[in-house]
């Protein structure tokens, strides 16, 4: 079955051209011109991945992203200006799984979508992983703490699983980027660091004093076990 992409882009000509190219690459494309429309489509239709321009008239992309995240763990790729570092960090903070920079090109998007959707499939390990009170259940695609679902996104879950399965050894940034995001990011620190921050907010008792997801200066991260 073809992957269904929700394309949220206010410029009708870009939307049409990109839609055409995605269609040509065997994606099924749903289009939305505004944030409100996007939420509406996401409610009504089955969507596999959302491609979200942050610059939207009316309800902006950050709000749409936060709203979508509140409703579930639908994979979100945000579209930002290349040099807008703050936007990238902010977008990741409100729940985006990945980002691409403008201008959008179908072939580049396709690579990202493939990598992101691979993450949704169960990780290689099927055995539950335990880190303190946190339990990762790859088979069910969730992580729990004291039995409660932590409501991690797929990316957060994958990140946690990679750290825990390393058994407390340091996992370098490059390794994490390659294993979680699945393709070569040349060490984009924002993507990883913001996700770590998000993860800590969900799994740590005190995110400002992390005990489970630890930073190893100059090297990477490790699980505190």
């Amino acid at each position: 079955m073809a992957v269904r992409v929700l394309l949220v882009e206010d410029d009708p000509r870009i939307r049409r051209a990109l839609g055409l190219a995605m269609l040509d690459a065997n994606y099924e494309v749903l289009e939305a011109a505004t944030g409100e429309q996007a939420l509406d489509v996401a409610d009504r239709e089955v969507v596999d991945v959302v491609l979200l321009d942050l610059m939207l008239p009316g309800m902006d992309g950050f709000t749409v992203c936060r709203e979508l995240r509140r409703r579930g763990d639908l994979p979100i790729i945000m579209v930002t200006a290349r040099s807008a570092s703050q936007d990238i960090v902010r977008g990741l903070e409100v729940g985006a799984d990945d980002y691409v920079t403008k201008p959008l090109v179908a072939s580049e998007l396709s690579a990202r979508i493939t990598a992101l959707l691979r993450r949704s499939r169960p990780a290689s390990q099927q055995v539950p992983l335990v880190l303190g009170e946190v339990e990762v259940l790859p088979a069910r695609g969730i992580a729990t703490r004291r039995g409660d679902d932590l409501r991690l996104t797929r990316t957060e879950l994958r990140l946690l699983a990679e750290l825990v399965s390393a058994g407390g050894e340091v996992v370098t940034r490059e390794q994490l980027l390659e294993r979680v995001w699945g393709y070569d990011y040349f060490g984009d620190t924002r993507l990883l660091d913001v996700h770590v921050r998000r993860l800590r907010r969900k799994v740590e008792d005190d995110p400002s004093d992390p005990r489970l997801v630890l930073t190893v200066r100059g090297a990477g991260y490790r699980a505190g076990m």
């Binding site: 410029d11 051209a17 960090v89 201008p103 090109v105 060490g187 100059g218």
Partner: protein
């Protein structure tokens, strides 16, 4: 300052000379008068003693002499009488001829002479009661000493005044010139590219308008530069939407190239080439104008330069070997920008330099370097600054190449390096070709920006 000193010296020298001549003449006149009065009264006493045949005349003569320097001579008939002291000191023959002659002719006379190396005043006058001459030698040593003291004091005063004048001149001129120095500094900073420089207006009625004009000029210059930068940014921003549309629409055509007739295939190829270049120009222009507008931020982290160069070039011919001497210099840098610098330099070597021949990383003396060597003809000395200018190769030359790049690659690299406080230059590679060198400050041991916190 020098002029001030010189004029101070000149004025005080004139004063000193006038003072000297007036004072010395006055002192001399005083001395002359006093000696004349003394000699006249002494002559009268001697005159009386001689006329009364006073037997104590020799004692009297000696008594008239107040100091050892002075002497009294009395000529009676053909012989000389003198004070006791005078005998071994002054001989009558040493007395000046002019005075002797004048006295002989019945006149009073005086003359300054030097006897035995000492300055003296000889006063002579004829005696009235007896036929004879009275001559007295007065020492001028005191006067001479006074002269010397006076002259040295005046000279010292002149020198001091000169020095003082120079100091005051320096102080005054630096005070008076300070606004001009500030203006000069400010103008230099503006010339160096800092258009935010403003001068304090101050309350000097002569200088305030100048400062105001200067501030007005730099302000309008700054506005203009900002407007130009914003314009370039706006243009590229506006162009990006249609470029995105075209790139995507064209990618559909490209994917179905095989289904097209040959002429349409060639047309698609031409479009793809130029659109790719156009896209990268628009991207680079947007990025460069973001920096121009001062809206770019650096997200620095501690990076291993060898790793970074290796990663940056991964897409080029499946990765390139990076030469390094074992040392792995660390830098604090914005990863994305530094990668861009390396990619652009490698790209430049591949496109315009006849291909990349060597990539090297080295460190030492607090600096880290990346060298990118190519096999081209090198860059002529006159062009070594120009290659880093925007669209330096000229659009005509660029269009001859099918795959010419944005024309902004080196300019963008230079801008990114200078944002890091580093340097980028081109030199000759030993053995021909060009060597582009990126030089950055090496991170100190322990200097670290934790990216997780640093990016916020």
């Amino acid at each position: 300052m020098v002029a001030f000193g010189v004029s101070a010296v000149a004025v005080s020298a004139v004063f000193a000379l006038v003072t000297w001549s007036l004072a010395s003449q006055y002192l001399l006149r005083q001395r002359e008068q006093s000696t004349l009065i003394q000699a006249t009264s002494n002559a009268r006493v001697v005159d009386l003693a001689v006329s009364e045949k006073d037997p104590t005349l020799p004692q009297l003569l000696t008594g008239l002499v107040s100091t050892p320097d002075s002497a009294v001579f009395v000529r009676l008939g053909g012989g000389w009488l003198s004070s006791a002291h005078a005998v071994d000191r002054v001989e009558p023959v040493e007395l000046p001829r002019g005075v002797l002659d004048a006295v002989h002719n019945g006149a009073t006379a005086r003359q300054r002479v030097t006897i035995d190396g000492a300055p003296v005043m000889v006063v002579g006058l004829p005696m009235r009661r007896v036929a004879g001459h009275y001559l007295q030698v007065f020492p001028l040593r005191e006067l001479d000493r006074t002269y010397r003291f006076l002259s040295s004091t005046l000279l010292l005063g002149t020198v001091m005044t000169g020095l003082l004048g120079a100091l005051v001149g320096r102080w005054v001129s630096s005070r008076a010139l300070r606004p001009l120095t500030e203006l000069n500094d400010a103008a230099a900073r503006v010339a160096a590219g800092n258009l935010a420089v403003r001068l304090p207006i101050g309350d000097d009625p002569d200088l305030a308008p100048l400062a105001r004009t200067f501030n007005g000029t730099t302000e309008s210059l700054q506005r203009r530069v900002e407007r130009d930068a914003r314009f370039a940014g706006d243009v590229s921003h506006e162009l990006r939407s249609p470029v995105t549309t075209m790139v995507n629409a064209l990618s559909v055509l490209q994917a179905r190239r095989a289904e097209l007739p040959p002429t349409a295939q060639q047309a698609v190829d031409l479009l793809v080439t130029d659109l790719t270049r156009f896209r990268s120009t628009v991207d680079d222009l947007l990025e460069i104008s973001t920096v121009d507008q001062g809206r770019s931020e650096l997200h620095c982290e501690r990076l291993d330069l060898v790793d970074l160069v290796e990663q940056s070039t991964r897409s080029v011919r499946g990765g390139l070997r990076v030469e390094h001497s074992g040392a792995r210099p660390q830098v604090l840098a914005d990863r994305r920008r530094l990668e861009r610098v390396i990619v652009n330099l490698v790209d430049n070597a591949e496109r315009h330099g006849g291909g990349l021949v060597r990539l090297a990383v080295s460190g030492g003396e607090g600096r880290a370097r990346v060298e990118v060597d190519d096999a081209g003809p090198g860059v002529r000395a006159v062009d070594r600054e120009r290659v880093f200018e925007r669209f330096a190769r000229g659009s005509a030359a660029r269009r001859e190449l099918d795959d010419a790049g944005s024309g902004l690659g080196l300019a963008l690299a230079a801008q990114h390096v200078s944002l890091h406080g580093g340097e980028l230059w081109v030199q000759d590679r030993p053995g021909g070709g060009a060597r582009f060198v990126v030089q950055l400050a090496q991170a100190h041991a322990g200097q670290h920006v934790d990216a997780a916190e640093g990016s916020q």
